[in-house]
Symmetry: C2
Subunit: 171 residues, 2 copies
Protein backbone atom coordinates (compact mmCIF):
# COMPACT_ATOMS: atom_id res chain seq x y z
CA UNK A 1 0.00 0.00 0.00
CA UNK A 2 1.32 3.41 -0.90
CA UNK A 3 1.51 6.26 1.56
CA UNK A 4 2.62 9.87 1.26
CA UNK A 5 2.86 13.01 3.39
CA UNK A 6 1.51 16.36 2.20
CA UNK A 7 0.35 19.78 3.28
CA UNK A 8 -3.08 20.99 2.19
CA UNK A 9 -2.92 24.78 2.28
CA UNK A 10 -5.89 26.97 3.18
CA UNK A 11 -9.12 26.95 1.20
CA UNK A 12 -8.15 30.24 -0.46
CA UNK A 13 -4.91 28.77 -1.84
CA UNK A 14 -6.55 25.47 -2.80
CA UNK A 15 -9.31 27.29 -4.67
CA UNK A 16 -6.76 29.39 -6.57
CA UNK A 17 -4.75 26.27 -7.50
CA UNK A 18 -7.88 24.40 -8.55
CA UNK A 19 -8.88 27.19 -10.94
CA UNK A 20 -5.85 26.10 -13.03
CA UNK A 21 -5.81 22.40 -12.15
CA UNK A 22 -9.34 21.98 -13.43
CA UNK A 23 -8.12 22.64 -16.95
CA UNK A 24 -4.50 21.56 -16.87
CA UNK A 25 -3.88 18.91 -14.22
CA UNK A 26 -4.71 15.27 -14.94
CA UNK A 27 -4.59 14.61 -11.17
CA UNK A 28 -7.26 17.22 -10.46
CA UNK A 29 -9.82 14.64 -9.29
CA UNK A 30 -7.35 12.40 -7.44
CA UNK A 31 -6.21 14.67 -4.61
CA UNK A 32 -6.80 18.27 -3.46
CA UNK A 33 -4.06 20.87 -4.15
CA UNK A 34 -1.07 20.14 -1.94
CA UNK A 35 2.61 20.58 -1.14
CA UNK A 36 4.29 17.16 -1.05
CA UNK A 37 6.65 16.68 1.90
CA UNK A 38 7.39 13.00 1.39
CA UNK A 39 6.77 11.29 -1.94
CA UNK A 40 4.82 7.99 -2.17
CA UNK A 41 6.45 5.10 -0.31
CA UNK A 42 5.43 1.50 0.30
CA UNK A 43 4.34 0.54 3.80
CA UNK A 44 1.72 -1.49 5.67
CA UNK A 45 -0.69 -1.05 8.59
CA UNK A 46 1.72 -2.34 11.19
CA UNK A 47 4.71 -0.25 10.15
CA UNK A 48 2.48 2.81 9.79
CA UNK A 49 1.08 2.47 13.31
CA UNK A 50 4.26 1.39 15.09
CA UNK A 51 6.93 3.37 13.30
CA UNK A 52 5.74 5.99 10.84
CA UNK A 53 3.01 7.70 12.87
CA UNK A 54 5.07 7.98 16.07
CA UNK A 55 7.92 9.50 14.02
CA UNK A 56 5.55 11.99 12.35
CA UNK A 57 4.00 12.82 15.74
CA UNK A 58 7.44 13.63 17.07
CA UNK A 59 8.21 15.88 14.11
CA UNK A 60 4.87 17.69 14.47
CA UNK A 61 5.48 18.20 18.19
CA UNK A 62 8.80 19.91 17.47
CA UNK A 63 7.81 22.05 14.50
CA UNK A 64 6.26 25.51 14.68
CA UNK A 65 3.59 26.68 12.22
CA UNK A 66 5.26 27.87 9.01
CA UNK A 67 4.43 30.98 6.99
CA UNK A 68 4.62 30.51 3.24
CA UNK A 69 4.25 32.78 0.23
CA UNK A 70 3.56 32.22 -3.46
CA UNK A 71 4.56 34.96 -5.90
CA UNK A 72 4.95 33.20 -9.23
CA UNK A 73 4.82 29.93 -11.09
CA UNK A 74 7.69 27.57 -11.84
CA UNK A 75 8.20 24.55 -14.05
CA UNK A 76 10.02 21.20 -14.08
CA UNK A 77 10.61 21.42 -17.82
CA UNK A 78 12.61 19.76 -19.45
CA UNK A 79 12.33 16.85 -16.98
CA UNK A 80 8.53 16.97 -16.90
CA UNK A 81 5.83 19.18 -18.44
CA UNK A 82 4.76 20.32 -15.00
CA UNK A 83 3.80 23.85 -13.98
CA UNK A 84 3.44 24.74 -10.33
CA UNK A 85 2.78 27.55 -7.90
CA UNK A 86 6.26 28.14 -6.56
CA UNK A 87 6.47 28.33 -2.78
CA UNK A 88 9.14 30.91 -1.98
CA UNK A 89 12.33 29.39 -0.49
CA UNK A 90 11.68 28.57 3.12
CA UNK A 91 14.13 27.03 5.57
CA UNK A 92 11.42 25.85 7.93
CA UNK A 93 9.64 23.96 5.18
CA UNK A 94 12.97 22.53 3.99
CA UNK A 95 13.71 21.34 7.53
CA UNK A 96 10.26 19.81 7.87
CA UNK A 97 10.71 17.78 4.68
CA UNK A 98 14.30 16.86 5.69
CA UNK A 99 13.04 15.47 9.00
CA UNK A 100 10.74 13.17 7.04
CA UNK A 101 13.72 11.47 5.42
CA UNK A 102 15.69 10.73 8.58
CA UNK A 103 15.70 8.02 11.25
CA UNK A 104 12.65 5.77 11.09
CA UNK A 105 11.48 7.72 8.04
CA UNK A 106 14.75 7.34 6.16
CA UNK A 107 14.38 6.93 2.45
CA UNK A 108 16.27 8.03 -0.59
CA UNK A 109 15.06 11.23 -2.21
CA UNK A 110 14.94 11.30 -5.95
CA UNK A 111 15.13 15.06 -6.12
CA UNK A 112 16.13 18.02 -4.03
CA UNK A 113 13.11 19.40 -2.17
CA UNK A 114 11.36 22.06 -4.27
CA UNK A 115 8.28 23.19 -2.36
CA UNK A 116 5.47 23.65 -4.84
CA UNK A 117 1.78 23.19 -5.59
CA UNK A 118 1.31 21.51 -8.96
CA UNK A 119 -1.28 23.18 -11.19
CA UNK A 120 -0.54 21.53 -14.56
CA UNK A 121 0.92 18.16 -15.55
CA UNK A 122 1.01 15.66 -18.40
CA UNK A 123 0.62 18.47 -20.91
CA UNK A 124 1.77 18.00 -24.49
CA UNK A 125 4.81 20.12 -25.43
CA UNK A 126 2.60 22.57 -27.30
CA UNK A 127 0.08 22.87 -24.48
CA UNK A 128 2.90 23.29 -22.01
CA UNK A 129 4.42 26.17 -23.99
CA UNK A 130 1.09 27.93 -24.36
CA UNK A 131 0.10 27.64 -20.72
CA UNK A 132 3.53 28.36 -19.31
CA UNK A 133 4.00 31.44 -21.49
CA UNK A 134 0.67 32.81 -20.34
CA UNK A 135 1.35 32.12 -16.64
CA UNK A 136 5.06 32.83 -16.22
CA UNK A 137 4.64 36.60 -16.28
CA UNK A 138 1.69 36.51 -13.87
CA UNK A 139 2.22 37.85 -10.39
CA UNK A 140 0.67 35.90 -7.55
CA UNK A 141 0.26 37.24 -4.06
CA UNK A 142 -0.73 34.31 -1.89
CA UNK A 143 0.33 33.82 1.68
CA UNK A 144 -0.64 31.18 4.16
CA UNK A 145 0.22 29.87 7.60
CA UNK A 146 0.81 26.10 7.56
CA UNK A 147 -0.17 24.54 10.87
CA UNK A 148 -0.63 20.86 9.93
CA UNK A 149 0.39 18.10 7.56
CA UNK A 150 -1.34 14.86 6.66
CA UNK A 151 -0.51 11.23 6.06
CA UNK A 152 -2.41 9.83 3.07
CA UNK A 153 -2.76 6.47 1.37
CA UNK A 154 -3.56 5.66 -2.22
CA UNK A 155 -6.70 3.81 -3.28
CA UNK A 156 -6.87 1.40 -6.22
CA UNK A 157 -8.27 4.16 -8.45
CA UNK A 158 -5.07 6.20 -7.77
CA UNK A 159 -6.90 8.77 -5.65
CA UNK A 160 -5.65 9.61 -2.16
CA UNK A 161 -7.46 9.32 1.16
CA UNK A 162 -6.31 11.08 4.36
CA UNK A 163 -5.36 8.69 7.16
CA UNK A 164 -4.11 11.05 9.85
CA UNK A 165 -3.67 14.76 10.55
CA UNK A 166 -0.64 16.11 12.42
CA UNK A 167 -0.80 19.58 13.96
CA UNK A 168 2.44 21.56 14.17
CA UNK A 169 2.75 22.12 17.90
CA UNK A 170 6.27 23.48 18.32
CA UNK A 171 6.75 26.55 20.54
CA UNK B 1 -17.63 27.93 4.48
CA UNK B 2 -19.19 24.50 4.59
CA UNK B 3 -17.95 21.79 6.90
CA UNK B 4 -18.99 18.19 7.44
CA UNK B 5 -17.97 15.16 9.51
CA UNK B 6 -17.44 11.75 7.95
CA UNK B 7 -15.84 8.35 8.39
CA UNK B 8 -13.54 7.05 5.69
CA UNK B 9 -13.57 3.27 6.03
CA UNK B 10 -10.54 1.08 5.27
CA UNK B 11 -8.91 0.96 1.85
CA UNK B 12 -10.60 -2.39 1.14
CA UNK B 13 -14.09 -0.95 1.68
CA UNK B 14 -13.28 2.28 -0.17
CA UNK B 15 -11.96 0.32 -3.16
CA UNK B 16 -15.11 -1.82 -3.25
CA UNK B 17 -17.34 1.25 -3.08
CA UNK B 18 -15.31 3.03 -5.76
CA UNK B 19 -15.74 0.12 -8.18
CA UNK B 20 -19.44 1.16 -8.32
CA UNK B 21 -19.04 4.88 -7.74
CA UNK B 22 -16.80 5.21 -10.76
CA UNK B 23 -19.73 4.37 -13.01
CA UNK B 24 -22.74 5.52 -11.03
CA UNK B 25 -21.84 8.30 -8.61
CA UNK B 26 -21.60 11.89 -9.85
CA UNK B 27 -19.67 12.75 -6.67
CA UNK B 28 -16.99 10.13 -7.38
CA UNK B 29 -14.25 12.72 -7.93
CA UNK B 30 -15.34 15.09 -5.15
CA UNK B 31 -14.73 13.00 -2.05
CA UNK B 32 -13.54 9.44 -1.22
CA UNK B 33 -16.18 6.85 -0.18
CA UNK B 34 -17.49 7.73 3.27
CA UNK B 35 -20.13 7.39 5.97
CA UNK B 36 -21.54 10.82 6.78
CA UNK B 37 -21.90 11.49 10.51
CA UNK B 38 -22.87 15.15 10.30
CA UNK B 39 -24.18 16.68 7.09
CA UNK B 40 -22.74 19.92 5.69
CA UNK B 41 -23.13 22.92 7.98
CA UNK B 42 -22.00 26.54 7.76
CA UNK B 43 -19.21 27.65 10.03
CA UNK B 44 -16.02 29.73 10.08
CA UNK B 45 -12.39 29.41 11.22
CA UNK B 46 -13.02 30.86 14.64
CA UNK B 47 -16.05 28.77 15.52
CA UNK B 48 -14.32 25.66 14.15
CA UNK B 49 -11.23 26.16 16.31
CA UNK B 50 -12.94 27.39 19.48
CA UNK B 51 -16.13 25.34 19.55
CA UNK B 52 -16.42 22.58 16.97
CA UNK B 53 -13.00 20.94 17.25
CA UNK B 54 -12.98 20.85 21.08
CA UNK B 55 -16.47 19.26 20.99
CA UNK B 56 -15.35 16.66 18.43
CA UNK B 57 -12.19 15.99 20.47
CA UNK B 58 -14.34 15.29 23.50
CA UNK B 59 -16.57 12.90 21.54
CA UNK B 60 -13.54 11.05 20.12
CA UNK B 61 -12.03 10.76 23.59
CA UNK B 62 -15.16 9.05 24.88
CA UNK B 63 -15.93 6.75 21.96
CA UNK B 64 -14.49 3.29 21.45
CA UNK B 65 -13.58 1.97 17.98
CA UNK B 66 -16.70 0.65 16.26
CA UNK B 67 -17.05 -2.57 14.28
CA UNK B 68 -19.28 -2.29 11.22
CA UNK B 69 -20.57 -4.72 8.62
CA UNK B 70 -22.02 -4.35 5.11
CA UNK B 71 -24.14 -7.19 3.75
CA UNK B 72 -26.31 -5.59 1.10
CA UNK B 73 -27.27 -2.41 -0.70
CA UNK B 74 -30.11 -0.06 0.11
CA UNK B 75 -31.79 2.86 -1.60
CA UNK B 76 -33.39 6.23 -0.78
CA UNK B 77 -35.94 5.84 -3.57
CA UNK B 78 -38.50 7.42 -3.93
CA UNK B 79 -36.96 10.43 -2.16
CA UNK B 80 -33.73 10.28 -4.16
CA UNK B 81 -32.28 7.98 -6.82
CA UNK B 82 -29.48 6.99 -4.47
CA UNK B 83 -28.07 3.49 -3.96
CA UNK B 84 -25.77 2.79 -1.05
CA UNK B 85 -23.86 0.09 0.75
CA UNK B 86 -26.04 -0.39 3.80
CA UNK B 87 -24.14 -0.37 7.09
CA UNK B 88 -25.91 -2.89 9.33
CA UNK B 89 -27.79 -1.26 12.25
CA UNK B 90 -25.28 -0.27 14.87
CA UNK B 91 -26.02 1.45 18.18
CA UNK B 92 -22.47 2.69 18.61
CA UNK B 93 -22.51 4.42 15.25
CA UNK B 94 -25.97 5.84 15.99
CA UNK B 95 -24.69 7.22 19.30
CA UNK B 96 -21.63 8.71 17.63
CA UNK B 97 -23.79 10.59 15.12
CA UNK B 98 -26.25 11.60 17.86
CA UNK B 99 -23.41 13.13 19.87
CA UNK B 100 -22.58 15.31 16.87
CA UNK B 101 -25.99 16.96 17.07
CA UNK B 102 -25.93 17.89 20.73
CA UNK B 103 -24.53 20.74 22.85
CA UNK B 104 -22.10 22.93 20.93
CA UNK B 105 -22.75 20.81 17.83
CA UNK B 106 -26.51 21.15 18.03
CA UNK B 107 -28.24 21.37 14.71
CA UNK B 108 -31.48 20.16 13.24
CA UNK B 109 -31.27 16.86 11.39
CA UNK B 110 -33.22 16.59 8.20
CA UNK B 111 -33.41 12.81 8.33
CA UNK B 112 -33.07 9.99 10.78
CA UNK B 113 -29.49 8.65 10.76
CA UNK B 114 -29.16 5.88 8.17
CA UNK B 115 -25.52 4.79 8.17
CA UNK B 116 -24.49 4.17 4.58
CA UNK B 117 -21.83 4.53 1.91
CA UNK B 118 -23.29 6.05 -1.24
CA UNK B 119 -22.30 4.23 -4.44
CA UNK B 120 -24.79 5.72 -6.93
CA UNK B 121 -26.60 9.07 -7.14
CA UNK B 122 -28.26 11.43 -9.61
CA UNK B 123 -29.27 8.48 -11.79
CA UNK B 124 -32.20 8.79 -14.16
CA UNK B 125 -35.21 6.67 -13.18
CA UNK B 126 -34.33 4.10 -15.84
CA UNK B 127 -30.69 3.90 -14.83
CA UNK B 128 -31.71 3.65 -11.21
CA UNK B 129 -34.01 0.70 -11.88
CA UNK B 130 -31.39 -1.13 -13.93
CA UNK B 131 -28.59 -0.66 -11.44
CA UNK B 132 -30.68 -1.28 -8.35
CA UNK B 133 -32.21 -4.45 -9.76
CA UNK B 134 -28.78 -5.83 -10.55
CA UNK B 135 -27.35 -4.92 -7.12
CA UNK B 136 -30.22 -5.56 -4.70
CA UNK B 137 -29.84 -9.34 -4.81
CA UNK B 138 -26.06 -9.17 -4.41
CA UNK B 139 -24.59 -10.32 -1.14
CA UNK B 140 -21.76 -8.27 0.30
CA UNK B 141 -19.49 -9.44 3.05
CA UNK B 142 -17.53 -6.41 4.20
CA UNK B 143 -16.48 -5.75 7.75
CA UNK B 144 -14.36 -3.00 9.17
CA UNK B 145 -13.22 -1.49 12.43
CA UNK B 146 -13.79 2.27 12.53
CA UNK B 147 -11.19 3.98 14.68
CA UNK B 148 -11.38 7.58 13.48
CA UNK B 149 -13.55 10.25 11.90
CA UNK B 150 -12.64 13.40 10.04
CA UNK B 151 -13.71 17.02 9.81
CA UNK B 152 -13.78 18.25 6.21
CA UNK B 153 -14.47 21.50 4.43
CA UNK B 154 -15.76 22.12 0.96
CA UNK B 155 -13.74 23.88 -1.74
CA UNK B 156 -15.24 26.15 -4.41
CA UNK B 157 -15.25 23.25 -6.90
CA UNK B 158 -17.52 21.29 -4.50
CA UNK B 159 -14.79 18.78 -3.59
CA UNK B 160 -13.93 18.16 0.06
CA UNK B 161 -10.59 18.58 1.83
CA UNK B 162 -9.79 17.00 5.22
CA UNK B 163 -9.10 19.54 7.97
CA UNK B 164 -8.64 17.34 11.02
CA UNK B 165 -8.58 13.66 12.02
CA UNK B 166 -10.07 12.46 15.31
CA UNK B 167 -9.05 9.06 16.69
CA UNK B 168 -11.61 7.14 18.73
CA UNK B 169 -9.84 6.80 22.06
CA UNK B 170 -12.53 5.49 24.40
CA UNK B 171 -11.66 2.58 26.68
Amino acid sequence: MKYGVAIFPSKKVQDEANSYRKRYDTHYALVPPHITLKYPFESNDEEIEKTIIPALDEIAKNTKPIDIAVKKVGSFKPVENVIYLKVEPNNDLQNLSDEMHKGALEGEREHAFVPHITIAQNLSDDEFSDVYESLRMSKFDLSDRIDRFQLLYQLDNDSWSVYETFRLKGE
